[in-house]
């Protein structure tokens, strides 16, 4: 079964917004904002902290709260998070895996790696594993061409992959 299907955006607001309340996050956010001359300038790092604290994605409520907190229009926040691939406006697995699909990696077998992951987990690229553990997607050059083909798992780097080693790496990590 694949869980690649995106949640209908109109339904997103009905999903629970898990993680700490915004007030509890302020302790972390205020010092970030203080580093910038204007509140709005802190948008990217603030979104990143909120995303990480709240199940790895930005619930519509998070978007609203960040917009209010930084006094920027909501539409602007939406523009930013839909521009940067590392911000998620859809629920994701516990960890996000990005398999590089750019030239160097492709030349060295990235497609095979992707196929293997799709077969093994029974999902399409962009989907989330049934157990909710991984969201596996493709990305542009990860800057790891020297160890192509490669992937990242959240902030860990894994290179010189084979189809087998990719599967094994994901299965072998502590649950």
């Amino acid at each position: 079964m694949t869980t690649t299907k995106r949640v209908d955006p109109a339904e997103l607001a009905k999903l629970p917004c898990t993680g700490p309340s915004f007030d509890d996050l302020r302790g972390k956010l205020d010092p970030i904002v203080a580093r910038y001359p204007q509140r709005a300038a802190a948008l990217l790092p603030v979104l990143w902290v909120v995303q990480r604290a709240r199940a790895g994605w930005l619930h519509p409520k998070s978007i609203r709260e960040v917009a209010e907190y930084l006094a920027v229009p909501q539409a602007h926040v939406e523009g930013v998070i839909t521009f940067y691939t590392m911000f998620k406006d859809q629920p994701v697995g516990r960890d996000v895996v990005v398999v590089c699909k750019t030239l160097s990696c492709r030349l060295r077998g990235a497609q095979e790696v992707m196929d293997a992951l799709e077969d093994h987990f029974g999902i399409d690229m962009g989907g989330t594993t049934k157990d909710g553990r991984y969201t596996i997607e493709t990305g542009e050059c990860l800057g790891l061409c020297d160890m192509a083909p490669c992937m990242t798992i959240d902030e860990e780097r894994h290179g010189n992959l084979t189809p087998e080693s990719a599967v094994k790496t994901l299965e072998g990590r502590p649950r």
Partner: protein, 895 residues
């Protein structure tokens, strides 16, 4: 700065030598000289963006985008080199292949700038076809009742995004997603309507491709330039007419009040004019029911009855929706024919404290500045005004001031929308404005931030006023207002040190039992800092209805003739007696509330109610309904069978603003033309005709004006502030009063040299705090404050007949803070019952932090939930305005 604007430079444009303003861009210069440069993201109202990359030109051998390149002395500009042509062609082709429609056969036709550009360059559609995007266009967003967005033909010029930000200040939309998937959007999964969009349509009228387009739009056969009927902003509009119907509206760019901009009501709210249920025939009550009658029958009956009820048993309620000419004739009828001063109108319920207060302190009860000049204020203090909802076009100037670096201080119990642009937001307890303003003034005086030279030269009463500040120490002010004193002091410093500073205020200041004191506190503050008489400074009461300023100017008030000339001054009275050929009463008449109140004691026996709906608008509305039921003879003259008309003995069908000639005077004192676009619907008639006809049938002379222009001439001859106003002179941009004679150009800023008081000087007033009449207690623990919605007007007789507006806001909502909601175990959408000492109303709750804890708010637009049955009719002793802004209520869930 100003030098820069007039400095010119010489450039060569495609071989021609041209002189141009140094502040111009290359694109401006080219377009002004008839050289077309393709451009899509440029709009004269917006800052240059350089986003579409179509406007490339060669300047001294370098390729630059013309829309954001300033002209420089001696530059050689070439728009047609091969390199320019190739670059532009490439850019246009890229846009076209990303476009989901062929530019040549697109049904948007010539409205589309991209199509014009493609033709100008000469595009080979066949060659491009194979590069076109294969996937189908994303669906059209039709969520807004008035317009739709088709991402398939959007060129992402960003004009809509920038309009919403720079012009409107809402920032509802932005570019979302990335690369080829980029569209205009707002929030995950959100349709246009789910965003913060206020449906003003400003983005739609600027969209260059028709990607944003009006729904149900019709190209009119002809257009008539007139003035919007809704609010006191007084926007110029072109009404589009086909046959006998109004089919479109657009802003008049040359109009100085709105410069082409409109709000949702002005742009889309004209549908009521042709609503099927317009009153089309006079109605007479026979055996308890209203039945159709002929004009002759109805007018003869009215004339006979009014003849019976001459003198002080007669009263008329005029309307801020009528033209100046109509109000003038109406009050003339009451005074000269009926022999009483019992004439008043809804200004009593909104700005009577302004007239009473500012006349005492400054000598004139109107906005001292202009709408446009507000945008150049260095500081704006907006107190008791929800400007974006009630005066949308004035709010645009507030946004402009903020964008120019001006400071904005918002003082309001509710977190009104303007708060998001503010540098300081003070949320005081409802009814504590005197304490708050006096607290600010104490800081200003203590810290020496006032303007002693101005005060000495132009004001009286300062010492006494200064002593009264002693009562407002930090602890008292904090306790009365609920605002930390540090914030009060910060606001005081910000206001006093950034000039010119403008104060904006509206009903939040006036609708109190101490409304006049509030107004005086405002004028004290402005005088203290020397701001009155300065351009972009001053005191700016925002007047509510399209012609409420004019109705006051015309003397639809019980104590003054036109032009605020008092009825108790013998020399004034003699002037009018001579002009009107009648003996006039020297006793001021009854006010709005007193007229309705006078019915019970038998003092008032006949009421002529013109264009007003007290059944919904009056505080303690049940009492007003009762009075209308009781009075011997009630004539209602209106465009619809309103809630009040149901009580009438005779109903006279009136024409709307679109069906008459005349003038409105907007909030900035600008007298502007109202022009007949269509003939009166059905058998309806203009109010001017109806009132004159009643008077004629009563045998009165002086009611046979040939036209509205003729009436204006009579007004000008008797009203010094309108002395130089004629229809002919105001054809173009209108004239701001005072305009004493035909050589005078009108007055942009009031009081620049002297105040129109006897001494020529302004006056400070010593003030004390007075609590609202009704404070919460154990039985009624919450405060109810009334407000209004952007989408409706007054008792919404007109706006609720526009389906789109009804869709945007179709019911009353009781707004309450989450804390109060939790205590009542109520969530948004639940039915609640609101009860006061006077009545009860059921409506749904909306839980929001916009409401402060302990205070709920409701509008008064909806007859299903008539909020004013709750409100308190206790009134201000001077201005006689009821305290609609504060009353004590209890809320319970209806389960």
């Amino acid at each position: 700065m100003s030098d820069e604007r007039i400095r010119t430079v010489r450039v060569t444009l495609d071989g021609q030598t041209i002189e141009a303003a140094a502040s111009a861009t290359v694109l401006d210069v080219a377009l002004a000289n008839g050289v077309f440069i393709p451009h899509l993201c440029h709009h004269p109202d917006l800052r240059p963006a350089g986003a579409c990359r179509l406007c490339f030109v060669d300047v001294d051998g370098r390729m630059v985008t013309a829309c954001n390149a300033p002209v420089v002395e001696g530059a050689t500009i070439r728009t047609n080199t091969d390199a320019v042509k190739t670059t532009v062609r490439g850019a246009v082709e890229l846009l076209l292949v990303n476009h989901h429609r062929g530019a040549v056969d697109c049904e948007e036709g010539d409205a589309c700038e991209l199509r014009k550009i493609a033709r100008f360059i000469g595009i080979d559609e066949v060659r491009l076809a194979r590069f076109r995007r294969p996937e189908p266009a994303p669906p059209v967003d039709t969520s807004n009742p008035f317009f739709e967005y088709d991402p398939g033909i959007c060129v992402l010029c960003g004009i809509c995004v920038r309009t919403c930000d720079e012009v409107v200040g809402v920032s509802a939309i932005d570019f979302v997603r990335r690369g080829v998937h980029t569209t205009i959007g707002s929030a995950p999964g959100a349709k246009w309507m789910d965003s913060d969009c206020v449906s003003c349509g400003e983005c739609v009228v600027r969209c260059p491709t028709g990607s944003l387009s009006m729904r149900d739009s019709e190209v009119p056969e002809r257009e008539v330039r007139t003035t919007c009927t809704y609010c006191g902003c007084g926007c110029g509009i072109h009404l589009g007419v086909t046959g006998g119907r109004i089919v479109s509206a657009r802003g008049v760019r040359e109009n100085p009040s709105n410069e082409g901009r409109l709000c949702v009501k002005g742009r889309f709210g004209y549908g009521f004019v042709n609503a099927p249920d317009r009153l089309k025939k006079p109605l007479i009550r026979r055996d308890g029911v209203l039945v159709e009658a002929s004009w002759d029958e109805a007018l003869d009956l009215v004339a006979a009855k009014f003849t019976e009820h001459r003198g002080d048993a007669f009263a008329a309620i005029a309307s801020a929706k009528l033209t100046n000419e109509e109000n003038y004739v109406l009050q003339k009828f009451v005074r000269a024919v009926q022999g009483t001063n019992n004439v008043d109108h809804c200004a009593r319920l909104c700005h009577s404290p302004t007239v009473a207060g500012l006349v005492q302190s400054l000598g004139s009860g109107a906005m001292t500045g202009t709408t446009k000049d507000l945008g150049d204020s260095r500081c704006i203090l907006a107190i008791g005004t929800n400007t974006t909802a009630a005066h949308p076009i004035v709010a645009l100037q507030v946004v402009r001031a903020v964008h120019q670096g001006g400071k904005l201080i918002v003082i309001n119990p509710r977190e009104v929308d303007l708060a998001r642009h503010a540098d300081l937001v003070l949320r005081n307890r409802a009814g504590s404005d005197v304490a708050l303003l006096m607290g600010m003034m104490r800081v200003i005086v203590d810290e020496g931030l006032h303007d002693p030279a101005y005060i000495a030269a132009r004001c009286d009463g300062f010492d006494e006023f200064r002593e009264s500040l002693a009562r407002f120490d930090a602890a008292t002010v904090e306790e009365l207002t609920g605002v930390p004193f540090a914030q009060v002091a910060a606001a005081a410093r910000m206001y006093a040190t950034n000039g010119p500073a403008s104060i904006l205020y509206a009903m939040g200041i006036t609708q109190h039992t101490h409304g006049t004191d509030n107004v005086l506190a405002v004028s004290n503050l402005a005088l203290l800092t020397g701001n009155v008489g300065r351009t972009s400074g001053g005191v700016n009461p925002l007047r509510g209805q399209s012609n409420v300023q004019g109705a006051c100017d015309m003397g639809a008030l019980p104590n003054v003739f036109p032009g605020y000339q008092r009825v108790d001054r013998p020399e004034v009275r003699e002037k009018f007696e001579r002009a009107w050929g009648a003996r006039l009463d020297d006793m001021p008449g009854l006010t709005h509330l007193e007229i309705l109140g006078g019915v019970t004691g038998g003092r008032i026996r006949a009421i002529y109610l013109v264009g007003e709906n007290p059944a919904l608008s009056e505080a303690d509305a049940n009492h007003a309904r009762h009075a209308m039921e009781e009075v011997d003879f009630l004539v209602v003259q209106d465009i619809f069978l309103t809630e009040s008309a149901e009580y009438a003995d005779v109903v006279l069908p009136a024409a709307t603003f679109a069906e008459k000639d005349g003038t409105f005077t907007n909030t900035e004192r600008r007298v502007q033309r109202v022009r007949r676009a269509i003939d009166p619907v059905g058998d309806s008639r203009t109010d001017l005709w109806i009132t004159s006809e009643i008077a004629r049938r009563m045998g009165a002379a002086g009611f046979d004006h040939a036209s509205a222009a003729d009436v204006m001439d009579e007004i000008a001859s008797l009203t010094p502030i309108y002395g130089g106003v004629t229809h002919e002179r105001i054809e173009g941009s209108g004239i701001q009063w005072p305009c004493p004679d035909s050589s005078h150009a009108g007055t942009r800023t009031l009081h620049t040299e002297r105040f129109p008081t006897a001494s020529g000087r302004a006056r400070f007033f010593a003030l004390a705090y007075r609590a609202p009449d009704e404070e919460p207690d154990a039985e009624f623990p919450l405060v109810l404050t009334t407000e209004r919605s952007l989408y409706h007007y007054h008792t919404s007789t007109m706006t609720r007949r526009v389906p789109g507006l009804e869709q945007l806001r179709g019911e009353e909502l009781v707004e309450m803070h989450p804390r109060d909601a939790a205590a009542l175990r109520v969530s948004s959408g639940d039915q609640v019952r609101v009860t006061s000492r006077r009545g009860e109303v059921v409506a749904r709750a909306l839980v929001t932090e916009v409401s402060p804890p302990g205070t709920i708010s409701m509008t008064f637009h909806f007859h299903e939930a008539p909020t004013n049955v709750l409100t308190n009719a206790a009134f201000d002793p001077v201005a006689k305005i009821p305290e609609t802004k504060v009353c004590a209520v209890r809320v319970e869930a209806v389960r």
